[in-house]
Structure formats: C-alpha cells, structure tokens
Symmetry: none
Subunit: 155 residues, 2 copies
C-alpha cells in the first residue's frame, strides 16, 4: 500500500473540541543526516528509538526501523540529542473515515500547529474543517528534524 | 550507564595465549558525532544498537546506552550505516579480578591492536601485563567511530 499524507497549517483552536485523544510527544535527534536519521521519542508512557532512511525518488516509501524503549531510557538519551528538542501535543481528530493528526508545538516552536491526514491516493477528496489552513505538504521547514534545528520562533 | 575504562595499545601477540574467549565483531555507525555516536554491532549471534557520548575531561568515563536487537535487524541497519564498517576479533584476557578486552582489527585497521580494562573508580590499580603498551585513553582517534571514517592504515 502506498501511503500519502498531506500536511496543513491549523488556523484556530476549535479542532480541540473535536479531538478524541491527545498525547504528549517529546522528541530529539541523535542524527539529522537524511540518509540515517536517529530519533528519540517519548510518546505518553512509552519511549522509542527510530532510524529513518531517505525517501525514495518518488517520495513514496522511506526506510524506518523502530524499537520500543522505556521512558527512563528515552529521557537519558534525549539529554544526548542535538540541541532543539521538540515538545508537542498530538490530537487525534476524526472526520468521517479520516483522522487528522494535529500537532500543537511548544517551546521554540510555540505558536505552530500543523495537521496531517493520510489519504489512499493523491487526488482523494478529504474533509476541510474550518480550522484547516494553507497546505504545507513537502515543505521541509515543517519537518520535525528541521523544526528542531531551526524552530518556528526563529523564522 | 557511565563506564570507567582505560585503553592501551598492545605491543605483542602474547596476549592470545592468555585469552579465554574470542568473538568476531562487525560494526558500523549511523552517527560518528563524538557527542552522540550511534553504533550498530553484530557480536557473535547477537545484534546491538548503542549510543555513546563523549568522554569527560579526563577521558576516563563515557556515557553508554545499549539495546539488544536481532542479528537480522542489525544486518538491515548496517546497510544504512556510514561507509567504513569495522571488523575485528575481541579477545577476553582475564587478569585476577580484571578482564582485558583486546581488539585485533582487520581491513583498513589491520595492524592495530588495543586493550581496554573497566575499572570501578578512576584511580583503581590495575594489572600491567608485558604486552600492554602506551595508554591512549580519551584519544578520540582510537574511538571505533573514528577508526571507521579515518582508519589506522590512513594515519
């Protein structure tokens, strides 16, 4: 299956009224080399270490390996990460058969809120709630690895 | 989590007569940043992912976090590593209550043999067998991550 995601800015807090779930995510990077990114993440009560490769030429598939670790381990590893830890709350906002994942950032990315929705094809129709703003799909400055080194409040 | 280790050059092959165990180690690096090295290792029938920090000012203690993974996972991750895979045999050489880990390198590091001993405190006395040469504790060019990008045969 080919996964296609579109990413948007979020222009109003009203999405929170429609959220069914929210979870705190804190993450940092041991390496931001696009060929071998190494991410440390705490998501709720679980830790993860994740290695990602570069996207293929079409941008459709990307190597990913992930291992669950304890929050304590992740905490220790976050202290070794490159400067610029990402701190955000991820909201799940269902809309019919779709689920928007909305990330509200804190710290140096405070003020930034982005939503992602996964589609089955490039031209599939998707809901456009009132809080959905400009599309930023493919804009690398919104990649989390980039927000880490060049946060929103520096733009 | 913090190791106290001293590292030495090895000046004679006689250590092999005292070795009780030897194991082949193949390893690569996802990051060679000395502050946050990420190593993938296959040691015998086991895989590992390891994060190491930089030594403290005296070069004696160094942050280390390690997780066991399968050889298959390690194999996949080795393919994502930076060029310059390290290939060595590690000998375990017991000396009283201490164990020297002696690494004999191959490939681009052929000719290099180093020994490490783990101590309980920075000033603990340790054995000095005849084959133990100059101390190189804290010298980053002997870090395996550095031997990967700048191997011994290039020095």
């Amino acid at each position: 299956m080919i996964e296609i995601e579109r990413k948007f800015l979020v222009t109003a807090e009203t999405f929170k009224q429609e959220a069914i779930k929210q979870i705190r995510i804190v993450q940092g990077f041991l390496s931001t080399d696009p060929e071998r990114t190494v991410r440390i993440r705490i998501k709720g009560a679980t830790g993860f270490i994740t290695v990602k490769g570069k996207s293929d030429d079409e941008g459709l598939s990307r190597f990913e390996w992930e291992k669950e670790i304890t929050v304590e381990e992740a905490d220790t590893l976050l202290q070794k990460c490159l400067p610029g830890v990402i701190d955000k709350i991820r909201y799940e906002v269902p809309m019919g058969k779709f689920v928007f994942e909305v990330d509200e950032f804190f710290g140096d990315n405070e003020g930034l809120v982005v939503a992602e929705v996964e589609l089955e094809s490039k031209d599939e129709e998707y809901p456009k709630p009132a809080w959905l703003g400009a599309e930023v799909t493919g804009d690398i400055k919104y990649y989390n690895s980039q927000l880490s080194s060049n946060p929103y409040n520096n733009w």
